[in-house]
Symmetry: C2
């Protein structure tokens, strides 16, 4: 059940800012701060205060002049919009160093993303345990998906296997892919892909370093 | 020496697309394909062909109707703009599973990002080798930076140490930070920050999964 107050669809650009707002609001809450101005929020995030006000207006956040926004309210509303607190089950495909790092990451489960299995094809990795999960062979994926709710597949496989593994995952009916391979995935329309392109990020950093004013 | 032909500064949004174009063009080159249309390029990347044409026009890429763009030329120009091929030296701070995954990643050096050292504070990690690099204590960072060209510091530290380590790195004169901590860093203006917020990406994926049409 969606309890949020907005009617219009929220744009992708706004959605992408929401986790950052949410993180900042979480910190303020932990610090016992109850009000925040759009100016402080914008400064922290490197965006204008008018952008902040516009974003918050989308989902019923009304600030009062000289008073600011209610941290608790915003935190709760944004959390609801983002579905924070609802559990999603995730598998990791690829148990190399990146896949293992994802499996060991402490921040995911706290936000509702529960890792339930890890798969690889390298026989020397099979049976090894990462946290409580034994690494399984990719051949077992089909059975696993048939017997478990898998919401998200994280692909931490070599770039040249990315497309093949994405195809497999899609055929098995998984509807969300968190892709770490440095490739563009073309999936069916009903499959959501979110990519982390490490090398692209690093190249942009290098570019900005070379070309700063 | 910059050999590129454009005069105007390129917008951040265009810059962020360039590594993706570059990757795609690299693949086409490897496949021996010499021409590509803006339509195919756009399809692959999920953007419109007119956006592709507009982007390429920025840096002197002129397509011919019914003929397309020259893959080799575009690949070279975009590579020059991005500074691909010039070496940048990077250190990794944080030798946990994420830091180790970054240190072992094979794609960075190929694009000119050379990892030259890894630092941590945990005594049990010190002296351990990751690839050819021994993990050093963070206390040695100051000496290391004094004696080596460090272009980029990758921060793979726990979130609550991010700000402190970014401050240290900045005081030592490092001008680019690749941040993996789930925090917003406020650094001096001449320090470039590029963040990979894993949890934000996952939350957006979860949102899009819940809210797809």
């Amino acid at each position: 059940v969606k309890l949020v107050k907005y009617e219009k669809p929220i744009s992708g650009a706004v959605i992408r800012r929401l986790p950052r707002y949410y993180r900042y609001l979480s910190t303020l809450k932990e610090m016992g701060i109850s009000k925040v101005s759009s100016k402080d929020m914008g400064n922290r995030m490197g965006i204008t205060s008018s952008q902040v006000r516009q974003d918050f207006f989308c989902f019923g956040g009304y600030g009062l002049q000289g008073y600011g926004y209610d941290v608790e309210f915003l935190h709760e509303e944004i959390g609801k919009i983002l579905g924070i607190g609802t559990t999603k089950q995730m598998i990791i495909i690829g148990a190399g160093s990146l896949g293992q790092a994802l499996a060991k990451h402490k921040g995911f489960e706290k936000r509702g993303f529960k890792i339930i299995a890890i798969f690889d094809v390298k026989s020397e990795l099979l049976g090894e345990k990462i946290n409580e999960h034994e690494i399984m062979h990719l051949d077992q994926l089909s059975d696993f998906v048939a017997n478990n709710q898998v919401d998200i597949a994280a692909l931490a496989v070599p770039d040249n296997f990315g497309r093949e593994v994405a195809g497999l995952v899609t055929r098995l009916g998984i509807k969300a892919i968190w892709n770490f391979a440095a490739i563009e995935l073309n999936t069916p329309e009903d499959v959501i892909v979110e990519s982390i392109h490490l090398i692209d990020s690093l190249i942009v950093l290098g570019y900005n370093l070379e070309n700063k004013k």
